[in-house]
């Protein structure tokens, strides 16, 4: 028997009435220290991360997000009992309050940007002696293009956001992944700007997803992932 945690929010939040928790269990609030934790009871093992279970968690969090500022919990977070939830909330109340103030009135938008086009010309066409050099030159070229793409995304979208984090790709990738914390009233503007950016950039694609709960801005450490 465990208690599954979906999100932490202010004490004024009501339980959303249009969704239920995992396995149809009713949602409840555990209130402590002027904060509230949205939970449901679980009698079986923690949910496995699958597409449907991830969305189930997400729908619960979004239902609460529709009316309240919140800090989403990472998928799979379970505690032993309501008492353990209350203890957690009390022990980190200050951190949670400060994080809630930070994300208040805002949602997270995801941006993935990728270089497209002739990224990987076949190095087999090069004379063997130059293949290594050609490979390195190509890698540097890709890196420069990705860097330029990241700068462009940041310059275009950063000013519309309260905060952002940009993850540069692994050395073998040409895709960056970014998260922007955007005030509710600027979400439409942000999405339009992202779509315009996608159209403007001829050798790359820009995809915007969301609005998400502020998963990337809920942790005290750096307010990012």
């Amino acid at each position: 028997m465990g208690v599954y945690l979906y999100a932490i929010c202010g004490d004024d939040a009501a339980v959303p009435d249009d969704v239920s928790g995992f396995d149809g269990a009713p949602l409840r609030m555990v209130r402590a220290g002027g904060l509230a934790a949205l939970v449901s009871d679980r009698s079986s093992a923690p949910p496995e991360p699958r597409e449907d279970t991830l969305w189930e968690h997400e729908r619960v969090v979004e239902a609460l997000m529709a009316g309240h500022d919140l800090l989403p919990a990472r998928f799979g977070t379970e505690l032993d009992s309501d008492a353990a939830v209350a203890e957690l909330v009390l022990s980190r109340a200050e951190e949670f309050r400060s994080a809630l103030a930070y994300v208040a009135g805002a949602a997270e938008l995801g941006v993935r940007a990728a270089c497209v086009g002739d990224l990987a010309p076949s190095i087999r066409r090069l004379p063997e002696a130059h293949a290594g050099h050609g490979y390195l030159a190509q890698r540097i070229g890709v890196h420069q293009r990705v860097r330029a793409l990241a700068d462009r995304v940041e310059q275009a979208l950063g000013p519309l956001a309260r905060a952002h984090t940009i993850r540069m790709p692994a050395p073998t990738s040409a895709t960056i992944s970014a998260a922007f914390l955007v005030a509710h009233e600027r979400i439409d503007e942000f999405a339009h700007r992202a779509a315009a950016l996608d159209a403007e950039i001829v050798d790359g694609r820009v995809f915007c997803t969301g609005p998400w709960p502020p998963y990337s801005f809920s942790n005290a450490a750096g307010r990012g992932r």
Partner: protein
Amino acid sequence: MTAAALEARRVQRSPRAARDVTLLDLLDRLLQGGIVIQGEITLAAADIDLVDLSLLLVVGAVDSLRRDLRGPLRDAKS
């Protein structure tokens, strides 16, 4: 704003390829973001390789991602 309205907005804003990307973003956020509680919790996803999980979950999206993004899937395995 209701949850249904949020969902409608997500879909409306998402052309086909972006809807595939949405699944990757969902994965990223739910398994690597959010508040983390140390101690008593069970992290169901902790032992699962994220790359493998991504591949399992977005099998349906692989083709369009490869075509449109040259994206995270191919890169993750190369």
